[in-house]
Amino acid sequence: MENKLLKKVDLIFCKTCQDDIEVVKKAITRHPDEIINDLIDSGLKGRGGAGFPTGLKWKFTKNQDSAVKYVVCNADEGEPGTFKDREILDTVATKVFAGMAICGYCIGAKEGYMYLRGEYNFLLKKLNASLDEFNAKIKAAGLDFHIQLRSGSGAYICGEESALFESLEGKRGEPRNKPPYPTVAGFMGKPTVINNVETFVYTAMINHFGVAKFKELGTTDSRGSKVFSISGDTPKAGIYELELGMSVDEFVKEFGDGDTKAVQVGGASGHCVPRKKFNDTIIGFEGIPTGGSMMLFNSSRSMYNVLKDYLEFFTEESCGQCTPCRVGCQQLLKGIEAVKRGERPASYLEELKKLALSMKVAAKCGLGQSVANPFISIIDNFKEEIIY
């Protein structure tokens, strides 16, 4: 297993490529297939967390025989512990637009939508202003593509791509059955590329800097760098772009406070890594993939409270449509509370683990499926804190 050292990178926020219209102009002189092949070659995987190869997603959508296609930017950053997209949108939004425009050019879409989480509405005015300018410039550059902003209402589930489409269509945000996938039937039932904010920036940057520069970074499974939102018990909370492939140990050396007992990788829906596993856990697709949230906990923290907070969050934010997620989340929460109070024996945790595993395979979407990650990793590694 490759193991990289911690290395700071400056692609996303770099100041040397600010004229994003130039990136788009350069892109549209090339054939869409060339751009898509570059993306495939680069090994870029979606930065939202699921990690689907971005180039393939574009290729599948391009190959769909449909007169109408869409590009959708998922700016519904709702995972607890993430705040990177907010920074990107606040400081380098035109890079996101550029990525969307290049995508529109590649797949043959004329319309793009950015779905912004309701809590980020304070960015709307600024984003709309720069978007108007951007739309006018790409039109002048001869690209028939127009981006619009849409504001969500602040439901976590609307970050799930199919629930996002439902919401974008004006309906209740509930996940759809898959297949069909968005590349076949997405927004308005049409082939759609949906990527998150950061992913679109990387597609623009790969166009700008070239594949080679991107491929220098990361490991075979986890190419490139990504932006991390770092919070919790750390003296350096904030947003950092780091090369992928480092171990948790490397990460904690840089960002820990000397007393770090656990790191929650990937936000509330991610895995909790205990100190004893820092060394052999890689942050990336060969280890623990992450949408960017890194929460550090030191020995003053009760992991029972951490888990309880997460479960309260999921219990509230489940859309409620499917049984494993709606009821499962409630049972996991009530279950650990009952064990803590002594109303159920410690062995009940084993029943709850089985339930979590059922949720992982039977829930309809990523929300319900991923609750098992924090639950099992915290129960397994901090059992005594849960029981006593």
């Binding site: 059955n177 219990t315 409620g320 049984t323 709606r326 009821v327 089985k354």
Partner: protein, 596 residues
């Protein structure tokens, strides 16, 4: 569906099915049953209960068999340990959220969740009871429907029914997470929202979360009150539905046994809504011809197309959604309400009774009839015309309560005075039936000859297509109706309110032109009514329809105007169709209602 065939294996048995088939359907082909809850044949796929999950070899996730399409080379296991464990968890979770005091539930014994809990041996109370603390209130505001959230498993069948089949959307999903529930607009009580009381949601609810409001005890009280004379009327669709509750297969006609059972239950007189169905045809047919005459001869402004008014769900739908078309509705009361008004006047008179001592009960395939009976317009006898409405299901329950061995009952006939009927009245129970009955009579009034269809069966108006249309050329008129000579009477039929909505939009927009439209709120017409036995699906409704038409063919009289008791009532009491007395007792008016 595509012609392209997909090959896969289910439980190691190869099967070949058309592309687009779901795993559930493919498994059915091999006779493997996969349990379902949120799935219903009449509705779109939801895939949200997850009880139908199956294992796909090589895939990390289990698949919802109802929602997942087959793919080439797929290997599916419908009964692996992993699958059984997940299903059991789903059932346990649903039960933990569900008020599972089954003995106190109306649906006890006819509950899909209960069946699954039994099948999967869920009896250990594994998880924590989430229901008790949620303080659910039971919505009893509607005269037709009780909504009990504490028994709801959020499968959303009712939501899909209300939206897809009925185009009403009175029910919708509200809130999220542990607060998610099935609710109404701004959580207003059921009585105050656009709900048409059609009860189609009840027919599809897998548990007891949506049930009809029952009036069984009130009816028992009336029967046991010696000062009361209790008459009961039974709608045409009841006789082909009731058997399903009492042990017969769908499509069994149990008319004679039903009449015997009603007599055994203690009703003073067992009469037939079909009698007033025939009467409706006399009134409504005359009304149609009168409107046509006004339009064609007198050149008066008159609302055409005329629309049937038998289905109270349809009436309320029209009042809410198309108040601009209320004048197009026939002013005829429904057969139930005509019957109620006559029971306390004509019938009472003939029997030497005082109207106040007559209790009129009706057995209906319909839950909206409960609402209809309580409408303030329905008191033209001087009393509430129909006192209690029971569904087919409630009658089944009364027969069980009385310990009657239904299957061994001998047949008997309806009592007289308002007990006689024709085949035309029986077909009121099927979509297109009112139209066919009306045409049989109207055509004969106008031409003096029977409708020019073999054996009186006007087949173009029959069937299960959502919207159907037909036309009949009128030739050889009797002198009185000569202005209709050569005219082509254009008619349309819709069943299920979503279909009605499409048709009404077209009528409103002026893109279609008809003379007469029949609408039934429920899919299949009354035979698929909200008060009929559960379950229902296309196949069951088809069997009930076949039974209805068979009953019609077997009747000696098949045209409403030939009903001797109908002829008698005009002679002795009403005078003539659309006469003064008819107007007072048999006709009504409608009022616009708000959408929200």
């Amino acid at each position: 569906m595509s012609n392209y065939m997909v090959n896969l294996k289910i439980n190691n048995i190869p099967v070949s099915v058309p592309e687009g088939t779901t795993i559930l359907e493919a498994a059915k082909k091999l006779n493997f049953r996969i349990p379902t809850l949120c799935y219903h044949e009449d509705l779109s796929v939801a895939g949200n209960c997850r009880v139908c999950v199956v294992e796909q070899q090589g895939a990390r996730l289990l698949q919802a068999a109802c929602a997942a399409p087959v793919a080439e080379g797929m290997e599916i296991l419908t009964n692996s340990n992993k699958v059984r464990q997940a299903r059991k968890h789903v059932i346990e979770l649903l039960l933990s959220e569900h008020r599972a005091d089954c003995t106190e539930c109306y649906k006890n014994g006819n509950c899909e969740l209960q069946d699954l809990a039994h099948e999967y041996g869920v009896n250990q109370h594994m998880f924590i009871d989430l229901n008790r603390k949620k303080n659910y209130t039971i919505d009893r505001s509607s005269p037709s429907i009780i909504k009990d959230d504490s028994r709801c498993i959020r499968c959303q069948r009712c939501v899909r029914t209300c939206e897809e089949l009925q185009g009403v959307s009175a029910l919708a999903v509200a809130y999220k997470g542990d607060h998610q529930k099935i609710s109404t607009f701004f959580e207003h009580p059921m009585f105050e929202v656009v709900c048409t009381n059609c009860g189609q949601c009840i027919n599809r609810c897998p548990t007891g979360a949506l049930i009809e409001k029952t009036y069984i005890d009130e009816v028992w009280d009336a029967i046991n009150d010696p000062t009361k004379h209790v008459v009961v009327q039974t709608a045409p669709a009841v006789r082909i539905g009731l058997g399903e509750i009492l042990g017969y297969e769908p499509g069994e006609r149990v008319t004679g046994k039903m009449v015997t059972a009603l007599k055994l239950l203690g009703f003073d007189s067992v009469l037939d809504t079909d009698f007033t169905a025939d009467l409706t045809i006399m009134e409504e047919g005359t009304e149609l011809l009168t409107r046509l005459k006004k339009a064609l001869v007198d050149k008066e402004q008159v609302a055409l197309p005329m629309m049937t008014s038998c289905s109270p769900g349809w009436i309320k739908f029209q009042e809410h959604l198309f108040p601009n078309l209320l004048d197009n509705l026939s002013t005829c009361k429904s057969p139930q309400q005509m019957f109620g008004a006559l029971a306390k006047t004509y019938y009472a008179q003939k029997k030497g009774l005082n109207g106040k001592d007559v209790v009129s009960v009706s057995i209906m395939p319909c839950t909206a009839k409960k609402f209809e009976a309580g409408r303030p317009e329905m008191r033209s006898s001087g009393f509430q015309d129909v006192d209690y409405v029971l569904t087919t299901r409630e009658l089944g329950m009364m027969i069980k309560q009385a310990g009657i061995d239904f299957m061994r009952l001998p047949d008997s006939h309806y009592d007289s005075i308002m007990g006689e009927s024709t085949g035309a009245a029986v077909i009121f129970g099927a979509t297109g039936g009112v139209m066919e009955a009306a045409l049989r009579t109207a055509y004969e009034i106008v031409t003096g000859r029977p409708v020019p269809f073999q054996n009186l069966n006007i087949t173009p108006v029959r069937g299960m297509e959502g919207v159907r249309e037909a036309s009949i050329k009128i030739e050889g008129c009797v002198p009185e109706w000569s202005f209709l000579e050569g005219a082509v009477l254009k008619v349309a039929i819709a069943h299920g309110l979503a279909n009605a909505k499409k048709l009404m939009k077209a009528v409103s927009d002026g893109t279609v032109s008809y003379h007469f439209i029949e609408v039934m709120a429920c899919p299949g017409g009354c035979l698929g009514g909200g008060g009929q036995p559960i379950p229902t699906n296309k196949e069951i409704r088809q069997k009930r329809a076949e039974a209805i038409y068979a009953e019609d063919e077997g009747m000696p009289l098949r045209k409403s105007h030939e009903n001797p008791e109908v002829q008698l009532i005009y002679q002795d009491f009403l005078g003539k169709p659309l006469g003064h007395k008819s107007h007072d007792l048999l006709h009504t008016h409608y009022k616009p209602r708000k959408r929200y």
